[in-house]
Amino acid sequence: MSVILAATVAAPSALSGGANVIAVGVLLAEFGMFRQALLRDQVRLYAAQSSLISALAIVVAATRHLPDLYVLAFLSFALKAVIVPVVLRRLLRGIGAIGGDPRWSDIAGSHALSVANAVLVAIAVAAFGFFTVAALGIRSPVLPATALSVSVAVILVAFVLMIVRRDVVSQAIGFLSLENGVSLTALVVAAGLPLILEMAFLFDLLVAVVVFGLLIRVHHGRAESMSTADLTSLRG
């Protein structure tokens, strides 16, 4: 512990500080999703989170001279900040959640816990993530260690988000933010991953989004609502 204390008195460079701030911004966006009551706001927040990750990728590309990352940043921005939100919004409009029948409203389903309680639980979970990463002592070659802790925290908080939410679209967005956390981790520890593999992951994410959309439509068609509170018939 004294080792850590000595390290904190010395400030990190301004650049790594900036990178850390962007990473923390991603985590704050994740927490922000607890608060968003409207589905379209959640989609927007997800787009903002994806943009932050692309920005971080550009920072890493510029400082560590990995030109592949420019392409990756552009692709992931195009896919996750533009295409996926468009797909989701079109889905919501198609079911009438946006600008349509007021019966199927844009409001996200009720939570299992209240927002403040959920945030407190998520803080505890994120703290667990921070402690685990610190205990493992993994050092990243391209970004300060804080970024790794933050990315693991994003993943864990995304799990809490998926558990606490009780409607299909919020759960799907929770899953997408989980994937964001994983790609942030990839940026921190696996920045040199060949571009072709990263593109395979991105393409796969798109396929997953399409399938999620189809299943949301199926669910909505049967239940005439987005709520999962009644999905309790299969038990035992």
Partner: protein, 530 residues
């Protein structure tokens, strides 16, 4: 051999594309042919892989371990493709049978294709992509039935499985990171590459990657406590899809875990990975064995049996002795055959009696001259009765366990398997051996329309496919129906018979090529084993 590999990759995909447009009769035949042909092609790979690895194009790689899982998938693909011909003639899809059938055929081929691709991938990242594709395709297949239960099961499945695969992706990334210490910043996650330098990988990272991989891929494999989607998805999917899910998809996820186990064992020594797998295996086996009692739905019963067998697989790997590992590989094959046969037989029962509820299925042996006994045999096989293959494999696993000194775990395995057998056999014997409904007895059938169902005999079954929709149809109507002895379809009998024959073969006298394959696979998994 390269041509064989390319054919295995290309054929199911081509069939899937063709089925998008072709007339349904052609789609049926083509799928069945492709299924059987794929099995043949995989069989052709066995002799070569029993003595060496085949690599091609930097992307594809088949070694003995992959060949075992390819065999499992190939066999089931062929069997299910034939079975589905009879299954779909039973009239599914409610108001749009053509659309249902088309989606079914396309989905089936795509699903089988994805499951054949996964063991052939040479690096961990592409392996993950392949498993993810199997998830999305199978989720769509689970949702294909037009019922509330199917929609619910599909949503739970896709959410949980995708979240688990998110963890598996994290594991892949950490594995990559472990490799960067030795292989440099940028390398493709080639499996052989990683294995070659395994001794120099940092321990903490590899431990983390392995645990995450077991958790992530274990979600898809059905390890407790992340198995909760499994009973729902397997019971609500159409029967052929359930058979593929239980027999092949769980095995493919196990394959992914095995690859991580290989790297972890080489990097960390075998104690840590084996303990992790033992913990999960015991939890799965225990929970499944207990849950098998008191099941009310026949397919849910079989789903929990799958969880049980996956637990046995995990425990088998954790034993580590060569005998146990050989047993594990045999178990993969035998379980595929047995579970496939059981699901197929269950499908016939459901079709004949019009309900999935165990309490309502009676007199299977009387009504179904072929499927009845075959289903009974499949249940016995699942309970590890000799002379079927599963007995041999579990025997080898226990022998390996005793040899490596894990007496308590081996004893637990035997007890749990016995308990599970009781659970399975209790329900199965009730379904098969209690007297069949006679003329005076009523069979509760939810009645969608008021038009009477024609009583028919022989191979042309009445339309008995009534999806549970009690709320819409009003109170469950009971009608006096004569259920007549006879098989619904010959297409649904032959594959089950083939499965049981395969089990007999595996149990009594596994072919020499197969044993060579197992030996090599064990050697790959356990270099320098004791």
């Amino acid at each position: 051999m390269h041509a064989v590999m390319i054919l295995i990759l290309a054929l199911p995909l081509a069939t899937a594309v063709i089925c998008l447009r072709a007339p349904l009769a052609a789609a049926r035949t083509l799928t069945a042919l492709t299924g059987v042909a794929s099995f043949g092609l995989v069989l052709a790979l066995v002799p070569t892989t029993a003595h060496g690895d085949i690599a091609y194009l930097r992307l594809l790689r088949v070694d003995a371990v992959s060949a075992v899982f390819l065999l499992a998938t190939g066999f089931l693909y062929g069997a299910i493709a034939v079975y589905s011909i009879g299954y779909l003639s039973g009239g599914h899809g409610g108001g749009a049978p053509t659309r249902y059938s088309r989606r079914f055929w396309v989905g089936l081929n795509l699903f089988a294709w994805a499951m054949l691709v996964a063991p052939m991938m040479s690096n961990l990242a592409l392996l993950w992509v392949a498993v993810e594709i199997t998830t999305v395709v199978s989720a769509l297949l689970v949702a294909i039935e037009d019922s509330d239960g199917a929609a619910e099961a599909a949503w739970k499945y896709v959410l949980l499985a995708s979240a688990g695969l998110g963890l598996a992706l994290l594991a892949t990334i950490f594995a990559y990171y472990a490799g960067t210490h030795v292989l440099g910043q940028s390398y493709d996650l080639g499996f052989t590459q990683l294995l070659a330098v395994a001794g120099r990988l940092p321990h903490a990272v590899v431990e983390l990657a392995f645990v995450l991989a077991v958790l992530g891929y274990g979600t898809k494999m059905g390890l407790v406590p992340v198995h909760t989607w499994l009973p729902d998805a397997h019971s609500e999917a159409p029967t052929p899809v359930s058979a593929l899910l239980s027999g092949s998809l769980l095995a493919i996820s196990f394959y992914a875990i095995l690859r991580y186990y290989q790297v972890a064992a080489a990097a960390l020594g075998s104690t840590f990975p084996r303990n992790v797998l033992l913990a999960f295996g015991i939890a799965s086996l225990l929970l499944a064995a207990l849950y098998l009692f008191g099941q009310r739905d026949i397919k849910r019963l079989l789903a929990y049996s799958s969880v049980e067998h996956m637990g046995i697989l995990a425990i088998g790997v954790s034993f580590g002795a060569p005998a146990a590992l050989a047993g594990v590989f045999l178990h993969v094959l035998a379980h595929a055959a047995a579970k496939g046969s059981a699901f197929m037989g269950a499908g016939v029962l459901v079709r004949k009696l019009g309900t999935k509820r165990i309490a309502s299925i009676r007199g299977g042996l009387d009504l179904l001259p072929w499927s009845g006994p075959l289903f009974l045999a499949a249940i016995f096989a699942l309970g590890a009765m000799p002379p079927f293959g599963l007995f041999r494999s579990e025997f080898e696993i226990v022998a390996g366990g005793l040899r490596s000194g894990r007496y308590a775990a081996a004893a637990f395995l035997i007890i749990a398997v016995t308990v599970a057998f009781f659970g399975l056999a209790a329900s199965a014997s009730r379904m098969l051996m209690l007297p069949s409904p006679s003329a005076a007895q009523t069979v509760p059938v939810p009645e969608p329309e008021s038009e009477p169902v024609p009583v028919a005999a022989g191979a042309a079954p009445p339309e008995r496919n009534a999806p549970p929709a009690p709320a819409a149809a009003g109170p469950t109507a009971e009608r006096v129906v004569r259920v007549v002895r006879g098989e619904p379809s010959a297409w649904m009998v032959a594959p089950v018979a083939a499965g049981m024959l395969a089990l007999l073969l595996l149990g009594l006298h596994p072919p020499a090529d197969l044993t060579d394959l197992f030996t090599r696979a064990v050697a790959l998994l356990n270099p320098g084993a004791r």
